[in-house]
């Protein structure tokens, strides 16, 4: 409850700062919107020429992609950790965070959130909607519920993995390129995993479980029963990876050496 109230406070501050650069805010919002729209057109054009993949129709591939955009958009709105190393380690803002009575990770998340990325949810929803409409899916009453649970599970998986990676900065302030690499790997989750080699399938399921942020849940929503078990595991995998990420973070905080001199 305390954290929720705090989140609202931080969000208000975020809006105020955004508004205080009023011109900026509008321009950014509009450009964001166009950027997403352009993305959407691009996707549709590309998929016009995509044949079916190993038993997946074109519409199904597009549906999976649309789904894939949603957890990603939510994750990047609330865990905008990309500049953590610069801002908190090199510029030393973590010192300040550590003198405040709220968990350090929660503070960092609230200070860096970028709710404007939520527009990706809209894009994803539209892509999914258009594709689903072509597919004539057979949804039951609890499928929308599962959709929400799967999405949250996916967000937790991203969160866990990227929090764990960000924790590396707590041990060393040298820059690493591992985050962009991980981002690229995460993109594998947007295609049906059965098109990949067995080793990659295994990796995307059990090591870097990006199949759970796109393909597995989407295939379930597409009424493909083969991956049902995996789809239902999404929240469990999410919880496990989040726990791992937080564990890494807490260990890292013990090793934190303070802002350099």
């Amino acid at each position: 409850m305390f954290h929720l109230r705090l989140l609202v406070e931080y969000f208000k501050q975020y809006m105020k700062t955004r508004m205080s650069y009023r011109g900026d805010f509008l321009v950014q919002f509009i450009s964001n919107f166009f950027h997403q729209g352009l993305n959407l057109v691009f996707i549709l054009v590309v998929f016009q020429h995509t044949p079916s993949l190993k038993g997946w129709s074109q519409a199904e591939v597009i549906f999976i992609y649309g789904y894939f955009l949603i957890p990603w958009a939510i994750f990047s709105s609330f865990l905008n950790l990309w500049s953590f190393n610069d801002r908190y380690i090199i510029k030393g803002e973590l010192d300040r965070v550590l003198t405040r009575p709220v968990h350090s990770l929660v503070q960092v998340i609230m200070e860096t959130m970028a709710p404007e990325s939520l527009i990706g949810v809209l894009t994803g929803g539209i892509v999914m909607g258009v594709a689903g409409w072509h597919l004539d899916l057979d949804w039951t009453w609890y499928d929308p519920l599962l959709f929400v649970v799967f999405t949250l599970g996916g967000v937790l998986i991203y969160a866990g993995i990227f929090i764990a990676l960000t924790s590396i900065s707590l041990y060393t302030d040298s820059k690493s390129d591992i985050q962009p690499i991980m981002f690229n790997i995460s993109n594998y989750g947007r295609y049906p995993t059965n098109i990949y080699h067995k080793i990659i399938q295994f990796t995307l399921t059990w090591i870097l479980p990006f199949a759970f942020v796109g393909f597995y849940p989407a295939s379930y929503l597409l009424d493909h029963g083969e991956w049902k078990i995996y789809a239902l595991l999404t929240p469990v995998v999410g919880a496990a990876y989040l726990a791992f990420g937080i564990f890494c973070w807490n260990r890292g905080i013990k090793h934190y050496r303070g802002a350099g001199n």
């Binding site: 931080y10 700062t17 300040r96 709220v102 013990k254």
Partner: protein, 335 residues
């Protein structure tokens, strides 16, 4: 309750060294070499509630590192530590509610938002009740004279303006213990005086314990009765400012202006046997160095005043600044 209790508090840093050249880089990859720096070396420190203590030492002595352990930012390498009854790093979230922190070199406020918004956010973070918040804030705004700054973003404030706001931010939850790491660095005399007065006030009124590091000796003279001096991570002095002066200010200097030129040998002859030294500064100017603190100026005067006509006389105490400089240069062992 004691504010701070540290036994054998130690912090070591591993500093990795890179070897030159490609071959060196490759060898570093396999087996990195490092050196261990003991920034804080087994210090013992006890500070009672309500004390105002100056923590001084040369650059790199380990002051900031100590403060970071005491505030829970860093985990100590070794030693026992209780601050306000908590283990600062282990019980960080509960503990930091009982302290306030100001780092002169680094802002504790949010850079982009207006000062009053920062305060409001801190009110939420520390869960300060509305009435207390309003009363404390109004008072501090008045004493520190920051009323006109409230709607400015922190990044637009001057250093002196920012420091006063930092103090308010550190005290919104009325902590029992306040840490200040170089709070007056780069400030003008008026702002320094304002801040010092404010600190004395909260110490007197609320019994707030204050631990401050500084390179400005006048801060100590204005605020602290107790001084802890650090050198290469070790405490080399812990005691009163007066004792420090007494033990180290080996006597004083007296400047004389005489009515006519006097032979140094005459002065020396008349004060023979006394622990002092005469020095000629000009034709009629001489300086008397009293080399023991218990030698009174009047005793010397009694010897010469009937034979030498003194036009003017000025007694000069050794400044604390000089004393501290001397200790930094020569070390404490010579005492």
């Amino acid at each position: 309750m004691r504010s701070i209790e540290a036994r054998g508090l130690t912090k070591e840093f591993k500093v990795y060294q890179s070897r030159p050249g490609l071959k060196g880089a490759f060898r570093d990859l396999l087996n990195r070499q490092y050196r261990t720096i003991r920034a804080v070396d087994a210090i013992d420190l006890t500070i009672e509630q309500g004390e105002m203590v100056a923590y001084i030492g040369e650059n790199g002595a380990g002051k900031s590192t100590t403060i970071k352990m005491l505030t829970g930012i860093l985990q100590p390498t070794a030693g026992e530590l209780k601050v306000n009854g908590f283990d600062p790093h282990r019980e960080r979230e509960k503990f930091v509610k009982t302290i306030g922190v100001v780092f002169g070199q680094r802002s504790q406020l949010w850079w982009d938002i207006a000062v009053q918004e920062s305060f409001r956010l801190l009110k939420q973070v520390y869960q300060v009740p509305d009435a207390d918040y309003k009363q404390r804030l109004d008072r501090m705004i008045e004493v520190l004279d920051i009323g006109g700054l409230l709607d400015q973003p922190v990044r637009k404030l001057s250093l002196g303006q920012r420091m006063r706001c930092e103090l308010v931010a550190a005290l919104i939850h009325q902590p029992k213990l306040l840490f200040l790491d170089e709070p007056t660095i780069g400030l003008d005399v008026l702002v320094k005086e304002n801040i010092r007065r404010f600190l004395r006030e909260i110490n007197r009124e609320f019994g707030t314990t204050v631990l401050l590091t500084t390179h400005d000796i006048s801060d100590i003279e204005a605020l602290c009765s107790r001084v802890v001096m650090l050198d290469q991570g070790k405490v080399i002095y812990d005691g009163g400012l007066q004792e420090l002066r007494r033990n180290w200010a080996k006597g004083k200097k007296v400047h004389f202006e005489l009515a006519r030129e006097v032979d140094m040998s005459e002065l020396e002859a008349r004060t023979a046997g006394m622990p002092l030294r005469w020095e000629r500064k000009g034709e009629r100017q001489v300086v008397l160095h009293l080399e023991q603190p218990d030698l009174a100026v009047s005793d010397v005067l009694a010897q010469i005043v009937q034979h030498v006509h003194i036009v003017e006389m000025q007694i000069e105490e050794v400044s604390t600044e000089e004393i501290v400089r001397k200790i930094y240069q020569e070390g404490m062992t010579l005492a």
